[in-house]
Amino acid sequence: MNLAPIPHNDHLFVRRLKQVGELLRGMRVTWGYLVRPSRVVTREYPENRETLTFPERFRGQVVMPHDAEGEHNCTACTLCEKACPNGSISILTTKNIADKRVLGRFVYRLSSCTLCNLCIEACPFDAIHMGHQVDNVEAASYERAALDLILNKREGR
């Protein structure tokens, strides 16, 4: 499909008039925004922090949900560690009283995480999620070390 050719045959005066008309048309568009406050799209972020919601699938940082007893689903299978393209996850295992291999520390380096979701897809036990709370998004920090997180709350469970 060819683009419609641009008409060139107008008289110069008619063309100038049309050009002025186009300028005014543009001004009408901006005017429409000025007089209609409902078209303002700004959301004032720190103020609306309390009411801010993210979609359920939103990929904030990786979190490990714990139930009421402080238990999590992780079996230290290290599938997520293998799935991660950036080596952001290190699963440090330990032995519990029954001499069973369990999760010691789930080390998660937010600083090198690309929030790609692959670890979550890899986990067979649904032990980790992508957080979609405000806290999972605000990750700015003055120190790099603050971005090395340990996701499980207690060791050796």
């Binding site: 499909m1 060819n2 683009l3 050719p5 641009i6 050009q19 186009e22 300028l23 048309r25 543009g26 009408r28 568009v29 901006t30 799209v41 993210f54 979609p55 699938r57 939103f58 990929r59 799935a83 393209p85 690309t114 929030l115 790609c116 979701n117 692959l118 897809e121 992508m130 979609h132």
Partner: protein, 391 residues
């Protein structure tokens, strides 16, 4: 280039730095000087550096310097599995990340003979077209800003945000999507996906009219773009341009039409073609492409099927030894993925043919003889994504 053969050789009077090919004009009393546009400049959109040879305000020659954001994505790909590599393609042309993902997925599918269920194909097409509109909206805003109409920039972003929010619901990300997987996509669409697409489609029609009113026929825009930076059909082909840049020069090539992938052959759409290859044609081609994408979206939404969104997932993606190629049409042109596999878990070599490098190539030819302002307009209508050039 007249580089002195030995250090002691007298330096020629009008020696030019490396990269400049044209002869120094007006050697006697030449007024030429060099200007570094970038890597930090408002209208190079990222870290592109253009070394410009100027005569007053007139551009004599432009030499792009690349490599400021080189991350060796292709080399990194060799040490990552195929699925892991997907998320790196997000970071090439970040405004077409869905489509880049799709390209890699298609190469893997081709190699392993994975089919995609009907619904998965529909999702692919719809998401690709949404992404194309989203990318063009951002381009429109940036184009307005490069020309000095800052308001357009905000309008472009405002409209783009609606699609970005949809993507956020769809895959949880706004820019680096990592949504498509070999055999489909990593999740089904949310329930209200189709109604929201239809809503966006309706709004887009109004938006495009508004954008046309603000900028398209504005005499200042026309005087800044018409006849500026013309690229002939022959030159566009020999530079390997693709996408809207090539189509504005009259090259009738669109991967969606001429090598249909996914289920593009089922939809009706036109491939807009320009005649002059100037900035204004590139502008109009993109505006028209948005309308065509809206058309595709409407058709796809009307026949969106039920069913699984992804073929049965494989535990590992191991490509048989050999080489595989796939190409898709991103918002900027043809994105090719070439995979050489030695049968292992990771590619032996993975190569992307990204549209932006070849689209940037003609800039020296297009800008020569124009003004600095023309250079900005040209760069803007080429719609360069620098991380895609450097990779």
């Amino acid at each position: 280039m007249n580089t002195p053969s030995s250090p002691s050789a007298p330096a020629p009077e009008h020696r030019l730095p490396p990269g400049f090919a044209l002869h120094a004009s007006g050697a006697d009393g030449s007024q030429e000087y060099f200007l570094n546009m970038g890597p930090q400049h408002p209208s190079t959109h990222g870290v592109l550096k253009l070394v410009v040879r100027l005569d007053g305000e007139t551009v004599v020659e432009v030499v792009p310097h690349l490599g400021f954001i080189h991350r060796a994505i292709e080399k990194m790909g060799e040490s990552e599995t195929y699925v892991q590599y997907l998320h790196l393609t997000d970071r090439m042309d970040y405004l077409s990340s869905h489509i880049n993902n799709l390209g890699v997925c298609m190469a893997i599918e081709k190699a392993m003979g994975i089919g995609v269920p009907e619904r998965g194909e529909y999702i692919r097409v719809m998401v690709s077209e949404l992404q194309r509109i989203q990318s063009h909206l951002l381009w429109w805003g940036a184009f307005g800003m490069d020309l000095g109409a800052v308001t357009a920039f905000l309008y472009g972003f405002k409209e783009r945000e609606k699609i970005t929010a949809l993507f956020e619901d769809l895959c949880g990300a706004r820019l680096t999507m990592n949504y498509f997987r070999p055999g489909g996509s990593n999740a089904d669409v949310p329930e209200n996906f189709i109604p929201r697409v239809l809503e966006i489609v309706e709004e887009m029609k109004f938006t495009l009219d508004e954008f046309n009113a603000l900028l398209s026929a504005n005499p200042i825009t026309i005087s800044r773009t018409q006849g500026v930076g013309a690229l002939s059909r022959e030159r566009a082909i020999s530079y390997g341009c693709s996408g809207p840049v090539a189509r504005a020069s009259g090259v009738n090539f669109d991967v969606r039409r001429h090598a249909p992938y996914s289920i593009y052959d089922r939809f009706e759409f036109d491939v807009p073609l320009g005649q002059n290859g100037d900035c204004y044609d590139r502008y109009r081609v993109r505006m028209e492409e948005m309308r065509q994408s809206v058309r595709i979206l409407e058709q796809a939404a009307a026949s969106f099927p039920e069913g699984p969104h992804r073929a049965k997932e494989k535990p590992v993606y191991k490509l048989p030894a050999g080489s595989y190629f796939s190409s898709v049409e991103t918002a900027r042109g043809m994105f090719g993925t070439y995979i050489v596999s030695d049968g292992g878990l990771k590619p032996y070599r993975i190569k992307s043919r990204s549209p932006n490098l070849s689209n940037l190539a003609p800039i020296a030819e297009m800008a020569a003889g124009g003004k600095i302002a023309d250079l900005v307009a040209i760069l803007s209508t080429l719609d360069i994504i620098v991380p895609d050039i450097d990779r």
